[in-house]
Symmetry: C2
């Protein structure tokens, strides 16, 4: 078993500061779009996780693929780290400049490059956020379903292989990225994939870059699948006598093959925070928040099947939200659960776990994790994309109390090792970043990680692409 | 534009024969399971494509992962090629021993290793065929949907990223392989993926090996997703006044998001061959052969929607096959189309094209290909997984007439270049093999192919894993 790297302890890595010659070249080319201002660097030196601030030496605000290629080519020449940055919503230390270097801010690359409604495809720049995309394509009658909660950039979502609600029906970024434009470690621009729905043409570079967390290349265009907006959408909440009952309902929904579109678990702690933050009056008991997509008859049929299963496990009558406004209110509350929970303990940091297990192991996985959290006495809350076997148990921690941080880290490790024993994964959707590099070895084995490292070395021989993450060299 | 390698011309590559020391070691370890008999080697030196016989120097019938690891370790020591072999049903020259070496026959590794019906997962050895898998899991109420027509091995299907009928609803091998056990180039055994439905843990090695055609490792276990058998299944045929009408119907089905399970096109030539071979009496006019999966009400709803679309384009009333026997008869006929067509021209070889395009470009792609085939005067037939934008135009060729082979190759090249112009792919499901290495460069660009080559070099520095295919070194 490999010691994990505690989320609040930075690895000691040699810094590779930006040499003056490179900085001069960047400033000459980018002018004010290259910044070394303290505030700007600090803003690019943290994410939503528990690591301390670790700023880069400079930030370049790129506006085109050519901009990115120019920065990377210079970085390659000078063997300086580059770290792609979207909106900063990741959780495992992905964005921290542990070896210094240049943050490549992609937020200004926020254009839809091409939209082909007849093919159900769109190509976007990496700084487009998921909410922006859905707003801009609204008139086509199509939507992009992947929804990790945060209004993340599509570049960041691709880089972390994000998923969230809706993945139970529509898949994750793995299934929904058709192709990419990528700047490689030397600053060359390549493309991967095509707009065809499937292909057997050579190695699947698209899926190698998806989830590579900026360590193999910088993505500058992303071609995505879109889906027709369902004819009918209904959301329902259903309360259960216990978390176990809600989880067992979920397991049976999945085993029966019901094409449920969203199946989210919230525990009483999460609901309490959400009620206060979003001024709702949901009953503070374990709850499934579900959504059904399809024809009106299909939606009704799915809902009846699920209601029957829920009743077997003691679930209440469904409480429906059929109007778009009612649904939006519910899902907005769900998406704000993270911030709602943080506000229940002022000044806290949040350590969010992220295991995913085969569906039949979900009850064991959640039940044991709750027992451990209760025994430890730390404030916690649970939300989960349980239809996928994925849940988050999040601890609210006093950043000035090392013992709380250490306890949370120990609980997290127990959960991860249990997920691995149950043939699941140490991260369903947050990624490896800094935090889970040791767990990656536990999960995949030294042999597979050695293969990952060979790939990293082949594609980034100077180790400039987000170094020190995923598979540190 | 890169010159393709015509399917009937072998590349000239230096042979790397098996040295006596290695052969002695193989014979000592494997006894009769290591064969150099002419008939055995010949059987492993061809596929269903048009290339001439190119046998390996020896064949080892492996029965375990340890067997495979031992062969590969020896091959690595002696820098000798190894070529994994399933049932020999591939089409692009994948199996040919163009540099000599050892064929690793995996057909005896045909056990289901683990079946977890509650998780909708199964782990199989690579020699299990798709029909065998579905037979063996029948009692669980689950099925594995991927169906390339041939009763291929799951190892071969994984290696070529196969799809076929059903992919329009259930995805391809890309979406349905959860994890792998792989013997790497040094003979080490690694595992990739987990049984969790999704994961963000590190580089997606699973999808790197899926579709790598034996050039990056030898897969020895494959973990697959299974699906609940649909409550209701209906198949229907619908005839159209023209191929264009059938294709335009398909385009609209997909654009409307109908979750059709199978949507296959057959032209009059294919139907004529199928009628004769399978003693059917289908009308010899362009036809869609469709299947709908779901609840009884859902299936009926889908069928009504599709029937309405078909009528707009002049399609006939559906002819239904609702009993399992009637459906089996239809699908068996569809699956035998290849052999049925070959029998219409005794002694012929078949060159089968395999482009896949964005759905809106499908009509243009098929119409232009037919016009070219008609002008050239070669006997041809068409089947297509048109719901995915994928179709096969197949020429029946006299292997002793070089001008026919050259004409078919020219027509194939025109189709491929058109697919690439339309932002599609040179191969939807057959793979690159020997035949399409030039087209891979046209499609992906020199930069992306260079990245593929770097990966190949990193994972197989001695170039022993199915050398000379996909990205020849």
């Amino acid at each position: 078993m490999n010691a994990p790297l505690p989320a609040h302890v930075l690895p000691t890595a040699e810094r590779r500061p930006v040499p003056v010659a490179m900085l001069t070249a960047l400033q000459a080319q980018f002018g004010e779009r290259c910044s070394t201002a303290r505030a700007v660097c600090d803003q690019h030196g943290r994410d939503e996780g528990t690591y301390p601030l670790t700023p880069p030496d400079a930030v370049v605000f790129c506006e085109s693929t050519q901009d990115v290629a120019a920065v990377v080519a210079l970085a390659h020449e000078h063997a300086v780290p580059v770290i792609p940055f979207g909106v900063g919503s990741s959780l495992e230390g992905h964005l921290l400049a542990v070896q210094g270097g240049v943050s490549i801010d992609l937020s200004r690359m926020n254009r839809i490059v091409a939209l082909q409604p007849d093919d159900l495809t769109v190509t976007v720049q990496p700084g487009v956020t998921r909410e922006q995309l859905n707003r801009e394509i609204k008139d086509t009658g199509l939507f992009f379903p992947i929804d990790p909660g945060a209004n993340a950039s599509l570049g960041g979502m691709t880089a972390t292989r994000a998923s969230g609600t809706n993945a139970v029906r529509y898949g994750t970024m793995r299934e929904n990225v058709l192709g990419l434009q990528v700047v490689t470690a030397t600053g060359e621009v390549i493309k991967t994939g095509t707009r065809a729905k499937k292909s057997s043409a050579g190695y699947d570079l698209t899926r190698l870059f998806v989830g590579s967390e900026g360590t193999l290349g910088v993505m500058t265009e992303i071609t995505l699948k879109l889906y027709p907006l369902p004819e009918a959408v209904s959301a329902a909440v259903c309360h259960f006598p216990s978390i176990d009952a809600a989880v067992r309902t979920t397991i049976q929904i999945i085993q029966m093959g019901v094409p449920i579109a969203r199946c989210e678990l919230l525990d009483a702690n999460a609901i309490r925070a959400v009620n206060r933050h979003s001024k709702l009056s949901l009953r503070e008991a374990p709850m499934l928040l579900m959504e059904f997509h399809g024809s009106p008859a299909g939606v009704q049929e799915q809902a009846e099947t699920v209601q029957a299963i829920a009743q077997e496990f003691g679930g209440d009558q469904f409480d429906w939200a059929t109007t778009p406004e009612a649904r939006t209110k519910l899902w907005t509350a769900r998406h704000q659960a993270y911030f709602a929970a943080i506000q229940t303990r002022p000044g806290c940091r949040c350590l969010s776990t992220d295991t995913c297990v085969p569906i039949s192991a979900l009850a064991e996985s959640i039940d044991a994790s709750i027992a451990e959290a209760e025994a430890a006495g730390l404030p916690y809350w649970i939300v989960g994309h349980v239809g996928d076997g994925n849940f988050h148990l999040s601890y609210l921690l006093d950043p000035n109390d090392p013992s709380e941080m250490a306890t949370a880290e120990r609980l997290s490790e127990q959960m991860v090792q249990r997920a691995i024993r149950l043939q699941g994964t140490c991260t369903g959707e947050h990624g490896i970043g800094l935090h889970k590099m040791g767990y990656l070895v536990d999960e995949a084995g030294a042999g597979a990680v050695a293969v990952m490292r060979e790939i990293k070395r082949a594609l980034d021989p100077k180790n400039i692409l987000n170094p020190g993450k995923v598979v540190a060299m």
